[in-house]
């Protein structure tokens, strides 16, 4: 898709073959992920088990595949898709290539919610941890909206209030942790992000919310391009920019909050993957949102595979892998796109 047109016709803006290719990539990567691990499972038997054919895995091995590896891979798919997509949407809405899904204080709010859960009643409340972090994220974003006053006339003022809310939430969190030092370890590992013990329950509820959010975003994805222009330009092209921004931010926040409550704070996916896809396809149109979701999913599945195998038997926190891989990638893409001043 490098060259745009020759002679008399501009070539199509988006090539859906790329979307198809990223879908195939995802399937392949998931198979890879469930095939590897400290315990060796025969590849043939894995296939047979998945398709319900005779001669598949039995007993402990089967449980390992179905109840451990598969939900973990699927959770990585869902969370990766959610983070990448909401990062891309925030970048469009705020016209800021450095935006990530944790803008508007969502990360700090989720962290505060998690800390409250962990410090309130230890093990008992641990199962409520996802709920607390989810609402923490949502509340932080709502407060950012509230503080910035207008419902969006100025995307930048919303960004600033997000920073203020985030700082405040972090301060409260730090205070709580100081008063309850036994929470330090659990909160720290939550912050690093973990897909370590995914289960089908988690996969189910997180996929419902994230599916809803992503469906909304992909439905409006084509119109999101209008938000890259001034409000008047967008209006002239048939868009209601304020309404579209509200819908987009609500859906993106829902996706982010769900992802965070399922797997903690995993960084870099939301900021790197959109640029990666845009860099490879040479397009910034939001028609690429579905592709970004698929690539984000593959990215996180691979990162999780690394987290499980690189330092086996220890687990590397997945946030470390995404940072190690994400940061250099990001620099390369930035230079190629010459986002840095020419």
């Amino acid at each position: 898709m490098k060259k745009l047109g020759s002679e008399s016709v501009i070539s199509p803006i988006w090539n859906w073959k790329i979307t198809a290719a990223s879908f195939s990539l995802l399937i392949f990567v998931v198979f890879l992920a469930i095939s590897f691990g400290p315990v060796h499972l025969e590849f043939q038997k894995i296939i047979r088990t998945l398709f319900g054919l005779p001669g598949g895995l039995t007993g402990q091995e089967r449980t390992l595949l179905i109840d451990l590896r598969l939900p973990r891979a699927l959770l990585a798919v869902i969370v990766g898709a959610a983070l990448a997509t909401s990062g891309a949407v925030y970048q469009t809405v705020f016209r800021n290539p450095l935006a990530d899904p944790y803008l508007l204080g969502a990360a700090a709010g989720a962290g505060l919610g998690a800390t409250i859960a962990i410090t309130s009643a230890g093990a008992d409340l641990y199962s409520l941890l996802p709920i607390f972090s989810f609402f923490g994220a949502i509340l932080a974003v709502l407060v950012s909206f509230f503080i910035s006053g207008k419902f969006f006339a100025e995307p930048n003022s919303l960004l600033l209030s997000g920073i203020a809310v985030g700082s405040f939430a972090t301060a409260v969190q730090t205070y709580l942790q100081q008063r309850n030092s036994s929470s330090l370890r659990p909160v720290y590992s939550w912050i690093l992000g973990e897909l370590t013990v995914a289960n089908w329950q988690k996969v189910t509820w997180s996929s419902i919310y994230i599916f809803i959010a992503l469906t909304i975003l992909i439905t409006v994805s084509k119109q999101l391009d209008g938000l890259m222009l001034t409000d008047e330009e967008a209006y002239s092209l048939g868009i209601n920019p304020n309404r579209l921004r509200v819908i987009a931010v609500i859906a993106a926040t829902l996706a982010t909050a769900t992802a965070v409550s399922a797997s903690g704070l995993i960084g870099f996916v939301g900021i790197v993957v959109p640029h990666l896809v845009r860099g490879i396809t040479h397009r910034v149109t939001n028609r690429g949102l579905l592709t970004i979701a698929l690539v984000g999913a593959s990215f996180l599945v691979l990162a999780d595979l690394g987290a499980r195998t690189l330092l086996s038997p220890a687990e590397l926190p997945i946030g470390v892998i995404t940072a190690f891989v994400g940061a250099p990638f990001f620099l390369v893409v930035l230079r190629k796109k010459r986002l840095v001043a020419k």
Partner: protein, 252 residues
Amino acid sequence: MIKVEDLNVRFGQKEILKDINVEIEHSKWTCLVGPNGAGKTTFLKALLGSQSYSGSITDSGAEVYGNHDRNVAFVPQQPQIPIGMSVSEYVMLGRSKRDGWGNESKKSRTLVADILKLTGLFGMLNQFVSQLSGGEMQRALIARALAQEPTLILLDEPTSALDLHHQIAVLNNIELLKERGVTIVSTMHDITLAAMYAEKIVVMREGKVLLSGTSDFVIHSPELQVAFENRISVFTLDSGRPVIVAKKDLSN
């Protein structure tokens, strides 16, 4: 005909436009002139339909506020420049009104190619919009507006960043739109150019319309002088073209 009746626009306590009554003819070029702060840009936004107002603005009888049935192109003075977007992708955005978002037809893609050639941007179609010079950017804006095939085109200072010969080239291209029945409303600092292209001129000052009428009439009127606090001089060339310049000696 676009009828503007008793138009008032307020931002909080501040009155930006006061009691405006004008008529803008279809398929003609109307230009708004006046000093800074006269409310010209706000007037354009009101005509677009994105700016709320009290009073009435009707285009062929239909109120314009929130009305997306019209095809209006808006060329802002300072656009938002999307990062990482190529020129052709940018101009193609204009087709979203006709084709719907995200569905460029082959016809659209051919049209955009033609427009890029017309505006001299074809050689840059793969370049990032963010890398264009001020003048090239302004041409890209015009190109996008042309791609939209609008019935009304609103331009806010369309030539301020262009060098002389490009100014004329762009304005000539816009003028061609009249043949297709497109109504043109623009704001311009350069009154000489306004006089060259606009059939009708509306003189504004501090939110009010001082005078509106044909270019000839307005150029030689006292209201024009009042609008600019008597700091301009009007000359007429042998060809009959008026030239309006600022006085060097600013003492009245």
